[in-house]
């Protein structure tokens, strides 16, 4: 199998929804595994979660021949670290930095997000201020805000839970 064929095979497996494919021929053996799809299916290709591995189909290959091609469409690791809350299926968005947490860009403006709002990747969810610099924190996941865990204008530390999000 050449590189192009392997890449096509990976794309095929990932689109098909199959979880594991193993092909063995005379001179090579290839195993492709993909993570089980989330409930909503194909639309999740654009959603990236940071856990031990991305939720998106990330094939692994063990090839006897050299030169494993790069896995297709692997998104880069974003800053905020959502972690699956096993018990309730909500994702906890945690603080990527230390500073003072603000719900809006200034005291007279409305909050960026409220409970019940839907957010998509890239939406500003809050500001964390440190050393006179205001950092806009963007959502790395999409979903509905279930709970805001920190009061406006309070200090937060690294990894502190900020929001509960329902990703469904």
């Amino acid at each position: 199998m050449n590189q192009k064929e392997i890449q096509e095979l990976i794309r095929f497996v990932s689109k098909s929804g199959v979880t594991e494919v193993e092909i063995e021929e005379k001179d090579f053996k290839i195993t492709i595994k993909s993570e089980p799809k989330r409930r909503k299916g194909d639309n999740d290709d654009n959603v990236v979660y940071i856990q031990q591995q991305p939720m998106q189909a990330m094939p692994q290959q063990q090839i006897a021949a050299p030169a494993a091609p790069a896995a297709p469409a692997a998104a880069p690791a974003p800053a905020a670290a959502p972690v699956e809350d096993e018990s309730s299926k909500y994702i906890t968005v945690k603080s990527p930095m230390i500073g003072t947490f603000y719900r809006s860009s200034s005291p007279d403006k409305p909050a960026f997000i409220e409970v019940g709002n839907n957010v998509k990747v890239g939406d500003t969810v809050c500001i964390i201020e440190a050393m006179k610099l205001f950092n806009e924190i963007e959502a790395e996941i999409q979903g509905k805000i279930i709970k805001v865990l920190v009061d406006d204008a309070t200090p937060v530390e690294y990894d502190q839970p900020l929001f509960l999000v329902d990703p469904s």
Partner: protein, 444 residues
């Protein structure tokens, strides 16, 4: 006096600083990585801020994170401990710019002493005896040859940005010089991103004897006598003691005066240590100056009855030193108990401590951050505890150490206790007859 100090460190030294702060009525802020959530220093501080994930580069070495933590807790001073950012000139400067008192040296003093070639030039100018060698950085291999001819082999090439024993190579004769040059350059570049080298005459079998000093903001400096740290493995100290078995009243007076000269040459403020190499004739040579509190500050504290951390904080707050020098009135020995397997080449052994029982009794001090059930993370150094014994004579201090080591129980991880037990029974060690070459021949 400061109202609140943030301790930018972890482990036993963070706890050490927190304890003195508590005694002084100063509030404390601990910072910790996600791996140190269960650490004792976090629990003992008044406030704690998580500053990043486990890797030091993303937490304990992240200047913005530490400053942000100081901001949100309103700390007015930062104590950097040892290692990490304690001798980082940039961090010292950033603290200045944010109006937070850095309890340590100024950026200029750190730069002056941190750059080894620079430091040596400063010392020569101040009249402090230095090891014969190059005047600063070596231009090229040709210059290296010339200087080696002048000072006579054996010579050692050292990294100017060096530390921890890296970027050093010996040459016993002319033929070995080109190889030593290449290797030292490569290692320095890799370890410090700076391949500048300087050369020194290699003093064979020297003793490593350092002098503790303290300087105030008014230009006054005193010394608090010596510590003998000759027992080293790969340039890592294992055992320290004071007074040095090799010391005489005359030598202490001369080395103390030289150390004070060295500190005054850079207008040093705070506590620091001037390290010397002492040869068999009791000639001593400046090696380097550490502009921070050291791991082995403890034994000086015990033999002089003096809280060095308290002094350090007071000096940072603008107090004056007492003006007199201090001499040891007791004898103290410190054994560094590390989570390493002495039976397997001192391989690091992180993991959970399942059983832990400390020795106690008269003349025993233990500085540690561990407890039964604590997991030693794999991301940082392997120190478990510092075991210190104090007694009226060196013989009694050694007897106490043997007794204490026998009582010490640490299970779940490997520790260097067996190594120290053997060392305390060694003839040469008991005679006080050892140099930095000791560990080369000590069989374990």
């Amino acid at each position: 006096m400061f109202k609140k100090i943030l301790i930018a460190n972890r482990g036993e030294i963070a706890l050490r600083v927190i304890r003195t702060c508590k005694e002084m009525g100063i509030k404390t802020v601990a910072v910790y990585s996600t791996a140190d959530k269960e650490s004792l220093h976090v629990r003992f501080a008044d406030e704690a801020v998580c500053i990043g994930p486990a890797p030091s580069a993303l937490s304990y070495l992240q200047i913005p994170n530490i400053i942000a933590a100081a901001e949100i807790t309103n700390a007015d001073a930062i104590h950097p401990g040892y290692g990490f950012l304690s001798e980082n000139a940039k961090f010292s400067k950033v603290c200045q710019e944010h109006n937070i008192k850095f309890i340590g040296a100024t950026p200029e003093q750190i730069d002056g002493m941190g750059d080894k070639a620079n430091a040596k030039a400063t010392m020569i100018k101040a009249g402090v005896p230095c090891i014969p060698g190059s005047k600063g950085l070596l231009k090229d291999l040709d210059e290296a040859y010339k200087i080696a001819e002048k000072i006579k082999y054996p010579v050692i090439l050292k990294a100017t940005a060096g530390g921890g024993g890296k970027g050093m190579r010996l040459a016993w004769k002319k033929e070995e010089l080109p190889n030593a040059w290449d290797q030292a350059k490569q290692e320095s570049k890799a370890a410090f991103s700076n391949d500048g080298l300087y050369m020194e005459k290699y003093i064979e079998e020297p003793r490593h004897i350092e002098i503790q000093i303290a300087g105030d903001q008014f230009g006054d400096v005193c010394h608090l006598s010596e510590r003998d740290c000759s027992i080293q493995r790969r340039h890592q100290k294992l055992v320290e003691e004071t007074p040095s078995p090799f010391m005489t009243k005359k030598l202490r007076k001369e080395m103390g005066a030289a150390a004070i000269k060295a500190a005054k040459a850079v207008k040093y403020e705070g506590v620091g240590t001037v390290e010397f190499l002492v040869d068999k004739n009791r000639d001593f040579y400046f090696m380097e100056m550490n502009t921070r509190i050291q791991v082995e500050h403890t034994i000086t504290e015990e033999v002089i009855n003096f809280d060095l951390i308290k002094e350090q904080i007071k000096l940072a707050a603008g107090h004056k030193i007492s003006g007199k020098n201090y001499e040891p009135i007791m004898h103290a020995i410190q054994c560094r108990i590390n989570a390493e397997d002495p039976y397997n080449n001192f391989r690091p052994s992180p993991g959970k401590i399942t059983e832990y029982h400390e020795p106690g009794g008269h003349g025993i001090r233990i500085d540690t951050h561990v407890y039964a059930g604590y997991t030693i993370p794999s991301h940082y150094d392997s120190m478990i505890a510092k075991l210190i014994t104090v007694a009226q004579t060196r013989e009694e201090a050694i007897l106490k150490m043997r007794r204490a080591l026998d009582e010490y129980i640490i299970e779940g991880v490997k520790s260097t206790i067996p190594f120290h037990q053997k060392l305390m029974l060694d003839d040469k060690f008991n005679e006080g007859d050892f140099t930095t070459a000791f560990m080369d021949t000590f069989k374990f």
